[in-house]
C-alpha cells in the first residue's frame, strides 16, 4: 500500500497541470501586485486630513445618539457601538490594510476551491485518458487499494497546491501593503486567524478535489468529471436551488460558503408565510461537504470495482 501511495504521489507530482497551476499562480500574483504597485498613488496629506475631519464629525454624530440606541444594536455602551460603526478607514482615503487580507482570501476562495476540483478531476481522469489504467491494474489488481491510494494522493496534492497558492497570494499582498498600505489596526492574533482561514479554504479545496476525482473516475475522463461538476454548479446550485428551497440546504456550494467564511448563512424560504429561515452553520457546512465527498467516492469505488477496463 505504501509503494502504491508513493507511486500515486510521484504520478501526481509529475503531472504537468500541477506544475502549470503553480507557475500560473506565481505569475498571476506577481503581475497583479506589480500592476497594483505601479498604478496606486499614496494619498496626499490634504486627502488624509479631509478624511480625518469626516471621521471626527461622524464620530461626534454617533456619540450624540444619531446612530440609534446601543442596546438595540446589541452593544453595551454608546462608545463601543460608535467604535464599531465609525472607524477612520471608512472616511479617509482608501488605504489597503493588512487586516483586510483575510477578507480578500475569503472573497477569492471560490477560485481556490475550483482549483481543487480541477486538480482532482485531472488526476482522476489522466489514467483513463492515457489508457494507462490497465497498465496500473496489471501491477496492482486490487482496485479498492488503487482508489484509496489515489484518494490520499489527490487530497494531499490539492492541499499542498492550494496552501502554496494562497501563501504566494498573501505574500504578494503583504508586499503591496508594505509599499502602499498600512499594518495599523491589525488585531492581536491576526496571523493565527489568517492561517486558520488558509487551512480552512484548502481543506474545502481538498474535498472539492475528491469530488472531482470521483466524478472523473465514474466518467472515466477529466472532461467528464469537470463537465458534470460545472454542470451541477450551474444547473443545481444556480437554477434548481432557487426553485426548490430544500435543495439549498443540501447543495455543497452554499455549504462551502458557510465553511470558508466561517459564518452562519441564513437561507430564507420565501414560499412560506411567514418566510422560514434555515441556518446553515459552518458545522452543518462541514457535514454537508463531507457527505457529498463520501457519497461520490463510494459511487466511484463501486463503479471502479465492478466495471470492465477495456
Amino acid at each position: 500500500m505504501i509503494g502504491l501511495l508513493r507511486s500515486e504521489i510521484l504520478r501526481a507530482r509529475s503531472r504537468r497541470v500541477v506544475t502549470m497551476l503553480l507557475v500560473a499562480t506565481f505569475i498571476a500574483v506577481a503581475l497583479g501586485i506589480l500592476i497594483a504597485i505601479l498604478t496606486t498613488n499614496a494619498p496626499t496629506q490634504e486627502e488624509t486630513d479631509r478624511g480625518q475631519r469626516r471621521y471626527e464629525r461622524e464620530l461626534a454624530r454617533c456619540l450624540a445618539g444619531n446612530y440609534g440606541r446601543p442596546d438595540e444594536a446589541g452593544f453595551d455602551s454608546l462608545e463601543a457601538m460608535c467604535a464599531e460603526f465609525v472607524q477612520p478607514q471608512y472616511y479617509g482615503p482608501s488605504t489597503p490594510r493588512f487586516a483586510e487580507i483575510e477578507e480578500i482570501l475569503v472573497g477569492t476562495g471560490f477560485i481556490v476551491l475550483l482549483l481543487g476540483a480541477v486538480v482532482g478531476a485531472t488526476l482522476g481522469g489522466a489514467d483513463w485518458s492515457a489508457g494507462s489504467m490497465a497498465t496500473l491494474l496489471v501491477w496492482e489488481p486490487r482496485r479498492v487499494r488503487v482508489l484509496l491510494a489515489r484518494i490520499v494522493a489527490v487530497a494531499l496534492t490539492a492541499l499542498v497546491l492550494t496552501i502554496v497558492a494562497q501563501a504566494v497570494f498573501v505574500a504578494g499582498l503583504t508586499v503591496y501593503i508594505a509599499i502602499h498600505g498600512t499594518f495599523d489596526g491589525t488585531p492581536a492574533g491576526y496571523l493565527g486567524d489568517l492561517t486558520a482561514t488558509v487551512l480552512r479554504i484548502s481543506a474545502v479545496a481538498g474535498l472539492f478535489a475528491l469530488m472531482g476525482l470521483s466524478l472523473a473516475t465514474i466518467g472515466r475522463s477529466t472532461v467528464a468529471g469537470l463537465g458534470v461538476f460545472l454542470g451541477y454548479l450551474i444547473i443545481v446550485e444556480g437554477f434548481l436551488s432557487n426553485l426548490l428551497f430544500w435543495v439549498q440546504k443540501v447543495t455543497f456550494g452554499r455549504a462551502a460558503a458557510a465553511v470558508v467564511t466561517d459564518e452562519t448563512i441564513e437561507l430564507v424560504d420565501g414560499s412560506t408565510r411567514p418566510p422560514s429561515i434555515f441556518e446553515l452553520t459552518p458545522g452543518r457546512g462541514w457535514v454537508t461537504l463531507g457527505a457529498w465527498a463520501v457519497v461520490l467516492l463510494l459511487l466511484a469505488g463501486a463503479s471502479f470495482r465492478v466495471r470492465d477496463v477495456t
Binding site: 502504491l4 490497465a134 497498465t135 501491477w139 496492482e140 489488481p141
Partner: protein, 307 residues
C-alpha cells in the same frame, strides 16, 4: 498444470443499441511452463479480451481462469507480481519520460532503480530514458512497454500483439527479444494476428477464431496436421519438365514457373532422377511444407470460422 489454464471462458459485451456481442464463446486453453506460446487469431477473434480476462481487467461471463495456479480474479493479487504484461498498445504517459513511466510502476511494488537501469539497457532504451515518451517511435514505445513488463522479473510474460505497427527493423528487434526471453526459461505468451511472426518465435501455439479454440499444440504438430503437400521444383524449362514427369506417371502443376509435384516429400530423388535422365537439371527441389497461414486458413475453414 499449465501456467495459464482457461476453461469454458465466455464473455459477451452489451452493445449500446441493445443486444450483445460475443467476444469469447467457451474458450479452453492450457499454456505449459517455459518457452514461447503463440496465441494466434484474426482481428476480432477474442485474443485481447482473453488476455484482459487473464489479467482481471475484464470479468468473464462464464468459465474459469487460472494464472500461475491462482484463480482469477480472486487470487490474482498473489501471483501478479510474477506476471509481466502488455495489453494492446503499451499505455504510457506521453508527457513523462520513459524512465519516469517506469518509476511510477516500479514504486507500486518497491522495485529499485538498478532494476529500471537493467531493463532499459535490455530493451536498448538506456540512452533515451530521459526523453519524453511522446518523442518515441512506435517501436520504442513497444520496447518501453516490454521494459515495464520485465520490471518485475516475471516468470510469465503476456504480450498482446507486440509487433503491431512496427517497421521491419522493429519487428526483428522485438522478435529477438521474445526469443531470448523464452530461452531464459520464462513462459512468454504472445498474441498476434501476424502468422509468420508467431511461426518464427513460438514453440507451441493455439489458434482461435470467433472466440473459440480451433487447435493448439507444438508448432511442428500443428503444421504437420495440414498433411503432406509434395515437392516444389524449379527448372529452366518448366513445360518440358511437366511433360517428362507426367510421362513418368507423376502428377504435377505449374504455378508462376514453379512446379508443384504431388508426391511424398521423401520421393525427391525419384523426381530428380526422372528429370536428369532427360537432360533437365533441377535448380531447386524442396518439400512443399505448409506454412502457418495455410494451416490457419484450412483449420478455420474446416470449423466454419474462416473468412
Amino acid at each position: 498444470m499449465g501456467v495459464i489454464e482457461v476453461e469454458g471462458l465466455r464473455k459477451d459485451f452489451r452493445r449500446l443499441r441493445g443486444g450483445t456481442t460475443t467476444a469469447i464463446a467457451g474458450l479452453d486453453l492450457e499454456v505449459p511452463e517455459g518457452g514461447v506460446f503463440g496465441f494466434l487469431g484474426p482481428n476480432g477473434a477474442g485474443k485481447t479480451t482473453t488476455i484482459r480476462c487473464l489479467l482481471g481487467l475484464v470479468r468473464p461471463g462464464a468459465g474459469h481462469v487460472k494464472l500461475l495456479g491462482a484463480d482469477v480474479p480472486r487470487g490474482l493479487a498473489s501471483t501478479i507480481g510474477d506476471v509481466g504484461s502488455i495489453v494492446e498498445q503499451p499505455a504510457l504517459f506521453p508527457r513523462f519520460s520513459g524512465r519516469r513511466n517506469l518509476e511510477i510502476l516500479a514504486r507500486t511494488q518497491g522495485v529499485g532503480a538498478p532494476t529500471i537501469d537493467a531493463v532499459l539497457e535490455r530493451v536498448s532504451l538506456a540512452d533515451r530514458q530521459r526523453d519524453l515518451v511522446k518523442t518515441y517511435s512506435l517501436g520504442m514505445k513497444q520496447r518501453l512497454g516490454i521494459a515495464a513488463a520485465l520490471l518485475k522479473d516475471p516468470s510469465l510474460l503476456i504480450l498482446d500483439e507486440p509487433a503491431n505497427g512496427l517497421d521491419p527493423a522493429g519487428i526483428v528487434e522485438v522478435r529477438e527479444l521474445i526469443r531470448s526471453l523464452g530461452a531464459e526459461g520464462r513462459t512468454v505468451f504472445v498474441s498476434s494476428h501476424i502468422l509468420s511472426e508467431v511461426q518464427q518465435v513460438a514453440d507451441r501455439l493455439a489458434i482461435v477464431a470467433r472466440g473459440r479454440l480451433v487447435t493448439q499444440g507444438p508448432v511442428g504438430e500443428v503444421l504437420a496436421s495440414a498433411g503432406a503437400r509434395g515437392l516444389v521444383v524449379r527448372v529452366g524449362d518448366p513445360s518440358a519438365a511437366v511433360a517428362v514427369l507426367r510421362e513418368a506417371g507423376i502428377q504435377v502443376d505449374v504455378h508462376a514457373e514453379v512446379l508443384r509435384v504431388h508426391v511424398d516429400a521423401a520421393e525427391g530423388a525419384r523426381v530428380n532422377r526422372a528429370l536428369a535422365e532427360r537432360g533437365i537439371y533441377a535448380a531447386e527441389i524442396r518439400a512443399d511444407a505448409a506454412d502457418l497461414e495455410t494451416v490457419f486458413l484450412e483449420l478455420t475453414r474446416d470449423e466454419g470460422l474462416g473468412p
